[in-house]
Amino acid sequence: MSDAVERLVNLALYLADATEPVTAARIKSDVFGYPVDQDEAAFLRMFERDKKDLRAAGFTIEVVDEAGRYQLNRTATFASDLDLSPDETAAVRAAGAAMLADPSFPYPDDLRLALTKISTGFDSDAIQAAARLADEEPARQGAVVAMLADASSRGKRATFGYTNSYGACAPHAVEPYGLFLHDGRWYLVGRDTARDEVRTYTVARIDDVAVDAARPNTPDFARPHDFDVRRFVRLPFQYGPAADEFDAVLSFSPSAAWRAETLRAGQGAIEPDGSGLVWRVPARSPRRLLRFALENGPGIRVTAPLALQTDLRAGLAEVVRLHG
C-alpha cells in the first residue's frame, strides 16, 4: 500500500500538469494512490479530504463547471521568486528566528513553512535574534492563543475559567472575536454570552480552555462586521469605569516630541504645537495618567484637565519631602 503522502503529492502534481479540467472519476483512474477497488462513496470522501489538505498547503483547486470538473488555478498556486534586498532578507530571517524561538508565539509550525516557501536560500548561519512576546508563562500563553485564534477564525465558542484581578475565578463562555498583544501580555476580546457584553480578558489569567467541538465546520456565531481588535488596545490610564472617562491633553516638549507616536500606541490624536506636540486622548484614571507622563518623561506634561496640575504639584512636593 502506498504512503498517503505519495497520493497527495501525486494529486497535486497531476492537477498542476493537467492542461484541461478533469473529473473526479478521471482523477481516480489517473492518480496513483487511490485504491483501485474502492467504492465511489469512499473515494469521494478520500478525495474531499485530499483537496482540503492540498488547499491547506497552498494549492488553489477550483471547480470550473457544472459537470464538477476540477482545475488547478496555476496563477493562484505558484508564486514568483521574491527579490528581497540583503537588508530585507536579514530582517525576515531575524523576525522569523526570533518568533520560532519564542514559545509565546502561537503559530510556529505555520511560520516555519511560510519561511521555507519564501526562502531564497538555505543559509545555515545562526541568526542572533530572540523574542519573549509574553513574559508570564510564555508557552502556556502561546498555546492558549493558538486555540482561541483557531476558534475565532472558525467562529466557534470557547469556555474557560478566568481569574480576575481580585483573585476570583469563574467560568466563562465566550465568542472569541480577536486577540492582541500589549506590553508583554496576550489579551482576548470576545462576547461573554452570559453577560451579553464584549469584554477583554488577560490570556495569562485563562485556564482550561475548551472549544465547542460540535459541528466543527459550522460557525456558532458571526463576528460583528465592524469589529476591530485595535480599538480594544488600551494604555494604562484608560482602564476604569466608562463613567469616569475624561478628555486629557498631554504636551510633548521639542526634545520629547519624537517619542509621541511610539507612546501613543494608536490612541487619541497628535497635532503640532509650536516646535512640540500635543496629544488629545481619552483617559479614565487621573493617577495613572500622571504616572504615565512622569515615567516616560522628561518633557511630557499633562496640561488638561487643569485640576490635575494641582495634584501633580502636591505629589511631586511630597516626593521631594520624602527624599530630601
Binding site: I127, F227, A314
Partner: protein, 315 residues
C-alpha cells in the same frame, strides 16, 4: 514524547520544498531539516516518498528525481509540472504576517506587502488586521532591517541614541550582536565603542542607524545563544529598597525582578528591586507621587529627589 506529524503536515512540508528543489541547487539535508523543524531522518524518509511521486504515466522522466546522498539532497532533473514556489496558505500567511508585525512591519509596510503578495487568494489580510494584533514594536522598521543585516554581516553601525530619561541623543558606534524582543519592545545588544562595554539599546529610542562599512571579527564578543535569552540580565545587579505605602500595591511586572522583602500590618510593604538604571528607577518612584519611597541606596534617593525637583520646577 513528540507527536507524530500527520499526513497533512508531512504533505505541507514537502509542498513547501517543491519550489526550491532544482538540479542547480543541491541542499544540505541537515540544514533543510533544521529549517523545517524536523529530524534529518524524518525528512530523508519523506524525500524518499517524494521520489516515488510523479504524474501519469509515471515514466522515469515524469517522476520527481530527488535523492539523498551523503547528507545532500540532490535533484537530477526539473520537477514535473511545478513552475515555482507554492503560494502561502492562509494559515502560513497569517503566521508570517504576525511574525512581521511583531517585529514592526505592519500590514502597510512595503516588505510585508511584498511578502504577503506571495500568499494564496484565500488569505484575507484585512480580516487578520482586524482580529489579531501581534505588534509590539513601535520603532522605525528600517532600523530593524539595518540592524538585522548588520548583526548578520557583523558590520558596525553608527547610532544616534536617546537613552531613557535623557534630554538629547548621543552619537556612538556599536558592534551589533543580537536582536531581542522583551517586555513589549525590541532591543539590540552589542559592543558600544563609546562606553567600551556591552550595552543594550532600545530600538524605539534610536534616532538614526547607519552602517559604517567597517566589519568586526566573529569572535570579538562572544554572546550567549541560550534557549531563553533575555535583553537584560538582572543577575548581580545592586538592589534598591522601596517602601510602598498602604494602597500602593507592589506588582512584580512593574518592577522586573523585584520582590516583597517585608509586609507591614497596615497593608504597605518594603520591596527590593534590581537597579536596572538609576534614572529608570528614580522616574518610576517619583511617578508614584509619594506613595513609594526609595529607602536606599542614597544614590537612588538623590536621583528621585532630583527628578521630582526638576519636574516640579517645570509645572
Amino acid at each position: 514524547m513528540a507527536k507524530s506529524p500527520s499526513t497533512a503536515d508531512r504533505t505541507r512540508r514537502l509542498v513547501a520544498l517543491l519550489g526550491h528543489l532544482s538540479p542547480e541547487s543541491p541542499l544540505a539535508l541537515a540544514d533543510l531539516a533544521a529549517r523545517m523543524g524536523t529530524s534529518p531522518a524524518e525528512l530523508a524518509h519523506d524525500l524518499s516518498v517524494l521520489s516515488l511521486c510523479g504524474v501519469a504515466p509515471y515514466s522515469p522522466e515524469q517522476m520527481v528525481d530527488v535523492f539523498v546522498e551523503d547528507g545532500v539532497v540532490e535533484v537530477y532533473s526539473p520537477l514535473p509540472a511545478v513552475s515555482g514556489p507554492i503560494r502561502l496558505s492562509p494559515a502560513e500567511a497569517a503566521a508570517l504576517a504576525a511574525a512581521l508585525a511583531a517585529a514592526g512591519f505592519t500590514a502597510g509596510d512595503p516588505l510585508s506587502s511584498r511578502l504577503l503578495a506571495a500568499s494564496s487568494a484565500a488569505f484575507d489580510a484585512d480580516e487578520l488586521e482586524r482580529t489579531l494584533r501581534s505588534s509590539i514594536a513601535t520603532h522605525n522598521s528600517s532600523f530593524f532591517e539595518t540592524l538585522a543585516a548588520a548583526t548578520h554581516e557583523r558590520e558596525c553601525v553608527a547610532l544616534s541614541y536617546q537613552r531613557d530619561g535623557a534630554q538629547v541623543a548621543t552619537e556612538r558606534v556599536i558592534e551589533p550582536l543580537q536582536l531581542f524582543a522583551e517586555r513589549g519592545a525590541w532591543y539590540v545588544s552589542g559592543w558600544c565603542r563609546l562606553a567600551e562595554e556591552l550595552r543594550t539599546f532600545r530600538i524605539d529610542r534610536i534616532h538614526s542607524a547607519t552602517p559604517t562599512g567597517e566589519h568586526f571579527a566573529a569572535d570579538a564578543h562572544p554572546v550567549s545563544t541560550g534557549a531563553a535569552p533575555v535583553a537584560f540580565s538582572l543577575v548581580g545587579l545592586p538592589m534598591a529598597r522601596l517602601r510602598f505605602a498602604p494602597g500602593e500595591t507592589f506588582i512584580e511586572r512593574e518592577w522586573p525582578g523585584g520582590r516583597v522583602a517585608e509586609s507591614a500590618d497596615d497593608g504597605g510593604c518594603i520591596a527590593e528591586v534590581p537597579i536596572g538604571g538609576v534614572e529608570w528607577i528614580a522616574r518610576r518612584v517619583a511617578a508614584r507621587l509619594g506613595s513609594v519611597e526609595a529607602l536606599s541606596p542614597a544614590e537612588v534617593r538623590d536621583a528621585v529627589a532630583a527628578v521630582a525637583g526638576a519636574e516640579l520646577s517645570g509645572t
